[in-house]
Assembly symmetry: C2
């Protein structure tokens, strides 16, 4: 039915049937890289951002790194435990959004919805920025192309995802395992070397750091900020609870096992990297010029913490160093890919609930919510461009959304258990899961406050600006769709009774498309039929009238005066005059329309007639009949069906039966 | 007819009748500012650019300024004389384009056409950049907003011109006369002071200039470059020969007088400013940091030459200084406005000849070629953004186009006279005008070579890149329109004979818009009628079938299976099955369409149905009937006409006559 050789087909592959949707579901070994990559890849920047803040305070403060890291590790455990409960209670893929929506009301759900939407966009922006950082750490010559690289990668991800979820899962699975393997190897080698008395030493350990002297309160605040930045390692844990429907049966069990695996690996990697960073004395600053002794800080890019550790443990330029940095970059792409799975899914859930444009709900040929994919790519590209792919700036906006959704989700779970306790299903209440959710709710809410306080002035205010706007937009969209639904709902009393059947063929010049429109109008056997020409140029009008007479067409040609060089207004006035004479009939206006045009042909055609049609559509009791005319009939166009038996190609003359019909019509009126 | 309170009306004013087009014609006192402002304002940057190049060579080379200026003055006289002849021979407003087209062939005409189009865009960009320069010279605090100011001014000009030519003429007339007056006052005061032994001294005379030592050839090249830059004072002379139709009767005589007036004033101002510049020892450099002694060259913007002279003669900060700089800035806006008159006119001439999209030919409600205005504004804004409103960079691209068009126009005039001499109208040949055009052709062609050689490496290559691309585009558009014209031309043998009259109403859900479409389809009394629903969701389909039965509609509802969640393909297959049974009938497909939507409502509606319609239009023998449904019927929309007598508001139920008709139909098939 569709053309197998169109560019869309080649890029996206064959369309998939609805029935195959189940075959697109993910086994655990594929689901882990697809959904856990976001959380796992967070260790590529989580510890780094923590070191960055601590470095501000100087060497004395850096010594607190293990304690801050311990705080982050506990939080990961708590959030994973909380999500573990949530996945079973709400396995439909709505995740925190659904929990908040059902237990705290639609408005709270919408808060989570907008927070998650923002967060998915930031996941893409941050992951891609961090990925590019690691690529540049491996190949410093690419330094000047940071932004271009980031935007190109986002475009690549969007294209891959428009192809569909399965292919992206398979194509992206290996890097995650390579990443986990290479980081474990890094940690293992580093720790073994330390145990053997040959601890790795980072190149940056030689740079002095000048910390400002701190008060007790200042130190506490700095530690809180470091903790908040380290919490960026928690981003991505929500991905699994939002993606349960994509798991194979038994969905909940598989999702929960994947969640635990992910939490365990994530904590191991975070702990290991932090430990190695402390051992190797990694110094990482927002601006390398703050590091005393850093040569040429304006032009030489700073290596990421992972790359610094790779250099210290494996040796700079060694094959294992490149394996580590490239695997890190690739897994960060996978993390961005997580958002390309989550954002369109959430968008379609929001659209189904009437909070987002319906077009987000439509699945494309490849069972993907294409519009969501495109929207996400545009948003992330915009952020990357606005912040020039600067990871440290982007990370300030991140986390807020994640913790808004964690908190609302966990508070929602607490309410869920309390409701269960008060309802008839009291027996289903489980005290241990309830306690887990309660602790999780308290912790995540507290961290949300910490994160907000410490990050607001550093850029997070932008999220507090965009979030409410998004919330308001979705709220209004919901109200709007509701009003339209009420407005168009048919009820028992809805009855129309259109009267009369007059038809008008708009004639500009005597061309084949116009004649075809006339022919179709005749075939439809309207009660009355006339051709109308708007008199813009008296010369052209005379030529047309002459040609009309000579052609022998007996449908009357009426001339509508047009002092404003406009076509629609004279035609509308003509319709009014007709109705003044014949009563309020339904009027069908026939116009030819070029179809099968290439994009540049659309610039050269159809504009004027589109404007006319647009205005005629606003007239009471008018229906527009578009008679297609295919320019270049030899060009193949997609759904043209097979030419029907006995039917000539469109645009080609057939039997000369027109005249007879014209006669019949002309005599009637 | 149209709504008087729409934003478009408030911004653009009432629509004007074609008959009033003559009333829009310009008397000389208005035509001078409208068409001559471009040429006159060129003296704001012409002498400055000349000084800029000479300054490169140091003080010794600066002494050659009067001779270079003399060369420019002679060239102005020659070009004005040549245009004087051209205006009479070709008064239709095609200007150089028409002369080249008729005498040197369509391809040469197209060269001039593309050169002029580029030049109009550059006129806007250069004039606005120079205007902003003068504003910043008066108010240095605006320095950081150079680009923003320039883009805002272009937007303002576009809005003013979308209102129509008369208003823009009146609104812009005064500044030109104020500009001429204030520059004459500047020159007069300066010269009188010099004669009285108190010559004005520019502030910049104190800065030393370090010229590189030059060879004889180097000196010659530098003088040629200075001459080429000074020639930017010639830009705009072509405006009158391109705008003859906008003059009042007698058009040719009025245009010629305006041309002479313009030439005289232009030469006076150019000579005066150059003389004052030499007397006051003005130093102007591309980068103020090249001027030894210039304090804080990185942050303090350099004053324009006009502003420097104003400071030297009137005193910095004096009322006359502000009058001069502001009048200069305003007249430069007027010059940009010239392009807003010329570009759309040339675009419509090109469109009428089939070289540009037809949409450039359409006049809007206000008798303005709106699309041309918008296109010009976009092009100029793009240039200003790309070159950061840097006058010295933009000026390098300028002039080329002007001299291409001068040369082709004058060579065309020479050919014109030679043809006249060889034809029967030999008596009309005039030797003096012929000699003038001959000299003018030789001079302008030589200058074109000089300008190309001296400016190519400094940025003019861009014009030599865009020009041919534009030429090729217009050439292909012409060929394309020709082919389409041949393809759709009706001849004596063109006969169609559409057969059969089947109608389908697409039904998604049982809503009022769908019922209205059904009602109209019934009113059109097709031979056969059925409702078709694509079965995307079996649950929804069952609900629809139940509602259909309960509503008592007797038009049969057919369900088309849709395994791909697509609507168009199942409907197309349904049509194929129908035709396999009943033969190749014309099929009219009815769909409701929301009309009168606000822009944001368009995002929320209609997308899906537009995609379906697009695909159905490609099927053989299918006509689409759009039945409009106005959401929010209380909202006023433009051409809604008055509600017809006896007709209910669209969207409101009327009499219950549907059922009777349904019965008639259902029993027929």
């Amino acid at each position: 039915m569709t053309n197998a050789f169109s560019p869309k087909r080649i890029l996206l592959g064959k369309p998939l049937e609805s029935d195959r949707a189940d075959g697109q579901l993910l086994p655990k070994r594929i689901a882990l890289p697809v959904f856990a990559s976001d959380a796992l890849s967070s260790v590529a920047y989580g510890p780094q951002e923590m070191f960055l803040i601590l470095t501000i305070g100087g060497l004395a403060v850096l010594a607190h790194a293990p304690w801050v890291a311990l705080g982050v590790l506990c939080l990961i455990a708590i959030v994973v435990a909380g999500s573990f409960q949530l996945v079973r209670a709400y396995p439909s893929g709505g995740g925190d959004y659904e929990v908040a929506h059902r237990n705290l009301g639609p408005r709270a759900g919408l808060v989570v919805g907008s927070a998650l939407l923002i967060d998915y966009v930031l996941t893409v922006a941050v992951s891609v920025a961090s990925g590019v950082d690691n690529v540049i750490s491996a190949f410093p010559a690419l330094g000047p192309f940071r932004v271009e690289l980031a935007v190109a990668l986002i475009a690549l991800l969007a294209a891959a995802n428009l192809r569909g979820v399965r292919e992206s899962g398979t194509a992206f699975a290996i890097p995650t395992y390579v990443f986990i393997g290479s980081v474990v190897l890094l940690i293992g080698t580093g720790l073994v070397r330390t145990a053997l008395g040959d601890p790795p030493v980072a190149e940056s350990s030689g740079y002095a750091v000048e910390g400002d002297p701190l008060t007790q309160a200042g130190l506490a605040l700095l530690l809180l900020r470091a903790f908040a930045s380290g919490c960026s390692a928690l981003t991505g844990i929500e991905a699994i609870s939002n993606g349960v429907p994509a798991f194979r049966q038994p969905k909940v069990r598989n999702a929960r096992i994947t969640l635990l695996l992910m939490g365990g690996i994530s904590m191991t990697l975070f702990a290991g990297i932090t430990a190695l960073g402390v051992i190797a004395k990694v110094h990482y600053a927002e601006d390398p010029c703050d590091l005393v002794g850093y040569a040429d800080c304006a032009s030489v890019p700073q290596q990421s913490v992972i790359a610094q550790l790779g250099t210290a443990v494996f040796g700079g330029g060694s094959p294992l160093f490149f394996l580590l940095t490239i695997a890190t970059a690739l897994v960060l792409m996978l993390a961005a890919n997580t958002a390309f799975n989550g954002f369109p899914l959430l968008g379609s859930v929001l659209a189904a609930n009437g909070y987002a444009p319906k077009s987000l709900q439509t699945r494309g040929d490849r069972l993907v919510h294409s519009n969501g994919v495109i929207l996400l790519a545009l948003g992330a590209a915009l952020l990357v461009l606005a912040f020039q792919a600067d990871l440290n700036a982007l990370i300030q906006l991140y986390i807020i959304g994640v913790f808004v959704s964690f908190s609302f989700g966990q508070i929602g779970m607490v309410v869920h258990w309390r409701r269960l306790l008060r309802s008839k299903r009291r027996s289903e209440f489980q005290p241990v899961p309830f306690a887990i959710n309660l602790v999780s709710a308290v912790c995540t809410s507290s961290v949300l406050v910490v994160v907000t306080v410490t990050k607001f002035a550093h850029g997070a205010w932008l999220v507090f600006l965009i979030g409410p706007v998004l919330w308001w937009l979705m709220f209004r969209i919901h109200r709007y769709y509701g009003r339209v639904r009420d407005e168009i709902a048919a009820d028992r009393t809805t009855q129309f009774g259109a009267k009369g059947d007059h038809a008008i063929v708009l004639v500009g010049e005597l061309s084949k498309p116009t004649l075809k429109a006339l022919d179709y109008a005749i075939a439809a056997r309207h009660e009355s039929l006339e051709a109308v020409h708007a008199d813009i140029d008296p010369e052209a009008t005379k030529r047309l009238q002459k040609a009309w007479r000579q052609s022998g067409i007996r449908v009357p040609l009426r001339i509508a005066p047009s002092p404003y060089r406009d076509i629609s207004v004279p035609v509308i006035e003509h319709i009014e005059r007709h109705r003044a004479e014949h009563g309020p009939e339904v009027v069908t206006v026939y116009t030819p329309k070029y179809v099968g045009l290439r994009w540049w042909e659309r610039i050269l055609h159809n504009h004027k007639s589109a404007r006319i049609r647009h205005k005629l559509m606003l007239v009471h009791g008018v229906t527009l009949a578009l008679v297609p005319w295919q320019l270049h009939p030899d060009r193949p166009i997609a759904p043209s069906a097979r030419p029907l038996p006995g039917e000539a190609r469109r645009g080609e003359p057939r039997r000369p039966v027109v005249r007879r019909r014209h006669e019949r019509h002309a005599t009637r009126r």
